[in-house]
């Protein structure tokens, strides 16, 4: 879901000084003075209980040898879990897999989604229905999508293998051959998420100033030139935001990978979050799982920071032009 404010909110007017509310008893005066906190309180307390507290608890858990059978407590082991992970090949493979999966998903979904939006933004017959079809995958629940793709990738009866063998490209074990595991989950993810990019880009396209484009035509620019001069610069902020969000979400993504390959074959799709889940609920090692999760969080923070630095540089270059 494309949803977070990345820029400072527009300057909204300051709260006007209270002007004697009608029922000006002590209670309503208290509400009036502390309105912001009262309105914010429930949500913040909620987040404190259900995300901040578990986060802290998870970090503490990562320094213990807690097992699933006794989730409440385990003996403290210091940085043992981290030492183990940082010296294990399996962990580093998991990091590499996460980065590869993220890179492929983001590149393909953002580029196909943007191109698709440009295409669907032009005028043609039946545009409404075609837009609807092109964006439906986003509405398909992930579990249903995973089941569909598992059937498409099926070794014996799958339509993908029937197609490849009809084209003379032979049959492949899409879900059992380590060579194809990452391809299989990436394709399914791109299918599911490209429509979201498309929706966001379509809506950004609607706010491209048409007068400006027409003005460039009058000045003799070709459509492509006016695209480069007007449309593209107008879309860039949206492209940047959606890329950042897709990146963060890809590092976090669990369900589609877990359901289609379960992290296999031979761990080639064992991303960090899948690794956390398997370590916790299959190997029953909560302490180590929490440590993987913490390192995963470090990774997404790092990616975000790098992203923001790149964005800053780009924005500076753009403003200098």
């Amino acid at each position: 879901m494309a949803t977070s404010t990345l820029e400072a909110p527009r300057s909204t007017p300051r709260a006007a000084p209270p002007k004697k509310p009608r029922g000006s008893g002590a209670v309503s005066r208290f509400i009036e003075r502390n309105g912001a906190y009262l309105f914010l309180f429930p949500a913040i307390v909620y987040l404190a209980i259900f995300t901040v507290f578990p986060l802290i608890r998870g970090l503490l858990l990562s320094f213990t040898a807690t097992k699933l059978v006794n989730p409440a407590g385990g003996r403290p082991v210091g940085v043992e879990n981290y030492e183990y992970l940082l010296s294990s090949d399996k962990f580093w493979t998991s990091v590499a897999t996460t980065l590869l999966y993220t890179l492929f998903t983001v590149v393909f979904s953002v580029s196909i989604g943007t191109a698709g939006a440009l295409l669907l933004n032009t005028a043609f017959k039946g545009r409404g229905i075609i837009r609807a079809i092109a964006t439906i995958p986003w509405a398909v629940p992930t579990v249903a999508a995973a089941l569909i793709f598992v059937w498409i990738y099926n070794n014996e009866q799958g339509i993908l293998n029937r197609t490849t063998s009809a084209l003379g490209m032979g049959q492949h074990g899409w879900l059992v051959d380590p060579q194809y595991g990452l391809f299989a989950v990436t394709l399914a993810t791109v299918w599911k998420l490209t429509p979201l990019v498309m929706l966001v880009m379509l809506s950004a396209l609607q706010s491209v100033p048409q007068e400006l484009r027409e003005a460039t035509w009058v000045d003799g620019a070709t459509r492509f030139q006016s695209f480069l001069a007007v449309t593209l610069p107008h879309l860039m902020p949206t492209v940047r935001v959606i890329t950042l969000l897709m990146t963060i979400w890809s590092i976090r993504r669990f369900e589609i990978i877990f359901l289609i390959t379960g992290g296999g074959p031979l761990d080639v799709t064992n991303t960090l979050v899948v690794n956390v889940y398997r370590t916790a609920f299959q190997d029953q090692n909560l302490g180590r799982a929490a440590a993987i999760g913490a390192l995963g969080l470090v990774l997404s923070l790092l990616v975000t920071v790098v992203y923001f630095i790149v964005e800053q540089i780009q924005e500076r270059q753009e403003s200098q032009r």
């Binding site: 879901m1 259900f50 507290f53 339509i159």
Partner: protein, 290 residues
Amino acid sequence: MTTERITIDLPRRRGIAARVGSLGKAALITLLVVFAGFPVYWMLSTSLGTESSLYGGSQPLVPELQNIGQWGGFLADIPIFRWLGNSFVIAAGTTILSLVLATMAAYALSRYRFHGRGVAGFIFFSTQMLPEALIIVPLYAIFAGAGLLNSHWGLVLADTAFVMPVAMFIIKSGIDKIPYEIEESARIDGCSRLRILTTIVLPLIMPSIAAAAVIAFFDGWNEFMFANTFISSSDLWPASVGLSSFLGQFYTPMNVVMFCALLFALPAIIFFLWAQRGIVSGLTAGSVKG
């Protein structure tokens, strides 16, 4: 005379090059539609297949519509309606709880300047970065202690934690767009803040609320990771967990599984198509401020 120039220009553009261009465009659009639509079509087609056609490796490309009668028989095998009912309860609970919390918080963040405003905003944003997988382990421990495992309540609470901030940003961008003067005059008339929020602001931000509701409902309807971990009794499974239980099983025929997947996906698809306009404007208002 600019209008004249344009009218002269336009016919000239429809030359051979433009025709090839529009043919290419048609090809690309077809490709896009096939890419997006085929898997959904294949789900429908598989649900209409017979076991012999599916497992004989000869599933026809055209759905076997004459088999539509078999759908009724599938329902007897699998408690899909019970699972869908559970999904609905979880999704509805998540939606209501998220909207109440998010609307109040959004109003505070949009309309007040106060200490800790930046920190509060950051807390909301940072949940986007937090992997559920990091939370799920301690949450499991906490829920185990609080008796919230194997309960729909626990799921509503966990799902809300992740979708409420998203709803908050969507609703906040809706409130940001309302001119403050409208509220100001109500305040001069002596309206309390709460009344302003419920009687003036709420009706004006209904499109944003609707978009946030759709997002929250989708999230609760689709959620799998928490449900799969916290709910052990199959009677309480939402459809996502019920359906996933077919993965890796060889004795449930694919046509039955795909029929259940269809029943699970259809409400979401219909809902999406119906509310699409609102979702898009809500999403983009919340996420992208170009």
